[in-house]
Symmetry: C2
Subunit: 324 residues, 2 copies
């Protein structure tokens, strides 16, 4: 970035950041200090991009931003860097922080030949099989950039495939994926458990707490115990101990409670930072508390902050005037 | 049964037994000693019975047997005694054996007004939530009748919902359901794990053993660990460490191995008797051995023997001549 460009953007945007996942594309205009100046969300996840025309999809979502500020770097994280995305970017092994990710960015040609930088995902193998993430690493590094420090940190990113990550000295040291959201979804929609469930997906706090309690009571048993406890979401419905309208929340509590108890066998001293959507974050906070750990809800703009931190580490953004 | 009837059937059938489940109806002509004289299987499970005409469905499946031997008692076990079946028969609480089941038979009017006796299922509540079975209790009591004794016994009946039962002094003392088969099914057909799976469902012994090993390595972790380990069925496929054709067997080994390890935290000294179909029984035998217990495959005709033992306990069959 030449000085002239920087002057033009004084006080304006320093980056166009993209959090481009399987089902949605979130775009941000990010300021020099990492704050979000403008944002938009489109249902333009990589599975909806037609004929591999990612440049066209990006132009449709943020072409006006790109044309208005032709000097800004464009950085994208998430499944857009997967085999099914714009270009497959190899995973970076843990431990990894800003330096490792910034050093492994890949590029593709966007609208009007504009360079788009793709953030790699992370890989980790210590648990006996390879584990991977794409996109969550950027949120985690964004949250770390907001509150820097060397102390160990633990993050959870709830979702279809939840990610738990343990960090220290600004780097992700290890992480683990839990298929909790997807297991909930397929059991609710396709198994016998769904047949007794009534009503919409409104939250039933009492049933959810009962599911958490069931998970807590089983926390000393081996993993296969979950295959038994799942049956309680049927029999408690058959006996009307949990009302039909509460069975979804009960199952959710059972699964999230089991996830939290398993992840927190290595409980972090300073609690768990939750990075996710409001409603689900509240459920995870309750589950983490039930499992005996402290939970705090983290920065909702962690993705944008992470894209900014990675771009700066890659030399795509000059440091803010007057700040180290 | 009058003596005249008994003489007519000397050396012939003493019972028409029905193992009538959700998807199939198995009918047996059973001899005085409990041996199966004749058998047939129809895809006439209770979900396929139209307009609640169970008598008609029975006549279609075994009307010739009923007409040929009008003096024989007819006894049915399984989901035919459930709310969705012919008549709901209340569960009998554990511990329960032949006397408790025989004392709680219900009747319905079958073809030509013929009395059909329905065996109740079992209920158990010790694990923190109610658990239930219908049909398996009859197989278990049949297996116990084949090898009577007071020593503790453990049975597993693999299936969509596997049942593990602990017995002593001829009674089922407690049992637990594991939703292993259904979880395998919905994950294979409806989750992201199925997308990488290739080929038919042919067994891959190496991949299955690897799944068992994964379950064994995690046996010391809490139940939620399973939600993490499931992800290995994706990443080992992505990295081609398990071939696409082996991923179904890998997932099967992971789930059955987890089930066996959890059920066998209370390992029986004399091993586990498996009551089930040949192929699945072999998989369970391998999983049980991997979990450190002894497995034997039990009587394939346990259902017919159980129906016979219950009918005799109910006084519907005289004892065999010359046997106590």
């Amino acid at each position: 970035v030449e000085k002239g460009d920087a002057d033009v953007n004084e006080g304006g945007a320093a980056l166009i950041g993209l959090d481009w996942g399987t089902t949605s594309l979130r775009a941000y205009r990010v300021g020099r200090d990492g704050a979000v100046l403008d944002r938009r969300s489109r249902e333009a996840g990589i599975l909806k991009v037609e004929r591999g025309d990612f440049a066209g999809a990006l132009a449709a979502a943020a072409g006006d931003w790109l044309r208005a500020e032709p000097g800004l770097p464009v950085v994208a994280a998430g499944m857009v860097g997967s085999r099914q995305g714009w270009r497959e970017v190899p995973y970076v092994p843990c431990p990894a922080g800003l330096a490792e990710l910034a050093g492994a960015l890949a590029t593709v040609a966007g609208p009007d030949g504009r360079t788009v930088w793709l953030v790699p995902g992370l890989a980790h193998a210590a648990a006996g099989f390879p584990d991977v993430m794409r996109g969550e690493e950027t949120q985690i590094l964004g949250a770390l950039a907001t509150a820097p420090g060397d102390a160990p940190r633990c993050f959870v990113l709830p979702g279809t495939h939840s990610k738990w990550a343990w960090c220290a000295r600004g780097r992700v040291e290890r992480f683990a994926t839990y298929m909790t959201g997807e297991v909930y979804d397929v059991l609710t929609r396709h198994s016998i458990l769904g047949r007794l469930m009534a009503g919409d997906r409104g939250h039933d706090a009492q049933a959810y707490a009962r599911g958490l309690a069931r998970a807590r009571a089983s926390a000393g048993a081996p993993p296969g115990r979950l295959l038994h406890d799942l049956f309680s979401a049927r029999t408690l419905g058959l006996t009307a101990e949990v009302p039909a309208e509460g069975l979804r929340s009960y199952l959710s509590g059972l699964l999230i409670g089991a996830e939290a108890a398993a992840a927190l066998t290595d409980a972090p001293p300073d609690g768990v930072t939750i990075l996710g959507a409001d409603a689900l974050s509240a459920r995870y906070a309750e589950a983490i508390a039930a499992a005996g750990a402290r939970a705090v809800v983290g920065d909702a703009d962690a993705a944008a902050r992470g894209l900014h931190a990675i771009a700066r580490a890659a030399g795509l953004i000059e440091k803010e005037h007057g700040h180290g």
